[in-house]
């Protein structure tokens, strides 16, 4: 009996590992920046290039930093959701226009709607590297103390908003 049970048991362990492996997404590399202070930046506004926004300006409120570009196709998928979220007034969204052309970016926003409280420009992607951006879109939830609490890799979806992002924002807003 044992000689049949042992291979069966070994097979089941292997199958369990493979099954878990199937549900993992190798594209989603967990960010080491979670629960760490958001990297500081000072970047020019997209619409008013002579104005500068610093990451410290948002201390005291929970905010989203959405990395996007007009050349990014997946950004178009998530964009209506961001516009809805911005209209709901739950949380201010700041747009990091990543490695893009100013004029095309502004046209893009005019065409698809502008959910951003402020859009800032990271034309050479340097701030992107500091935030560990390796694909667009990416969205960061940053709390009142300026600490990154969540990173959404790839476009936000209705599911990720309802299950993760919005509950997290509401919880973070309760904190002092």
């Amino acid at each position: 009996m044992m000689r049949y049970l042992i291979p069966l048991f070994a097979f089941m362990v292997l199958a369990a590992f493979l099954l878990v492996g199937l549900t993992l997404n190798p594209r989603q590399v967990p960010s080491p920046l979670i629960d760490k202070p958001a990297p500081v930046f000072q970047l020019n506004h997209l619409h008013e290039p002579d104005k500068v926004m610093a990451s410290g300006d948002n201390l005291g409120k929970v905010w989203l930093l959405n990395v996007w570009a007009s050349w990014c196709v997946a950004c178009r998928d998530e964009h209506p959701l961001l516009v809805q979220l911005a209209n709901s007034g739950i949380v201010p969204i700041y747009g990091l226009n990543y490695k893009d052309e100013r004029t095309t970016a502004m046209q893009w926003l005019k065409r698809y709607g502008d959910p951003y409280t402020i859009s800032i420009v990271d034309s050479d992607g340097k701030v992107g590297i500091n935030y560990g951006v390796y694909g667009v879109p990416e969205t960061y939830v940053i709390d009142k103390k300026g600490i990154i609490r969540h990173k959404q890799i790839g476009p936000v979806t209705v599911e990720s908003l309802e299950k993760t992002i919005i509950p997290l924002i509401i919880e973070l807003q309760k904190q002092a």
Binding site: V29, S31, P32, Y131, Y134, G135
Partner: protein, 174 residues
Amino acid sequence: MFKDHNQHDLALCQLKRVNGIVIFLFLILIIPSLAWAKEAIPVAEDPEVEKRMLALTMDLRCLVCQNESIADSRAEFSNDIRREIREQIKANKNDQEIIQFLVDRYGDFVLYNPPMKPTTILLWFGPVALFIIGFGSLIIYLRRRRRQIEDVPLSEAQLKKAEALLNENKGKNV
């Protein structure tokens, strides 16, 4: 004389036109090479920096095309990281500082050589553990089998039968 002058003018004019064509052709020839020269600049800029950058990026994973190193990959992401590393080398950062910079931002996943820590113990020692388990059970199995072979004595009837067979052959004188 007047005519001569005119002819001279014409000749000069033609010469100018020929000159213009030559310059135009020359420009056509040289413009693409200028463009190439511009693109090749980063490599030729500083061979030492390039060598160190390549050595570093060989062991770093491109997060976009995950089976390629940053040195091999032509993805936009790898271009940016290579540029970043070049700049840091020029700023006199050592290799460890540069790698730490990337690990801080992208995690251990960028390293093709994972560091030894509690979460990677299985990765580092799993194969050795599997080998020991496999080799151990092979030895146990072989020992048990040998004992089984040794330990089974022939019964009284089997012994007599064997003796009879042997005796039979003796008589025939093979």
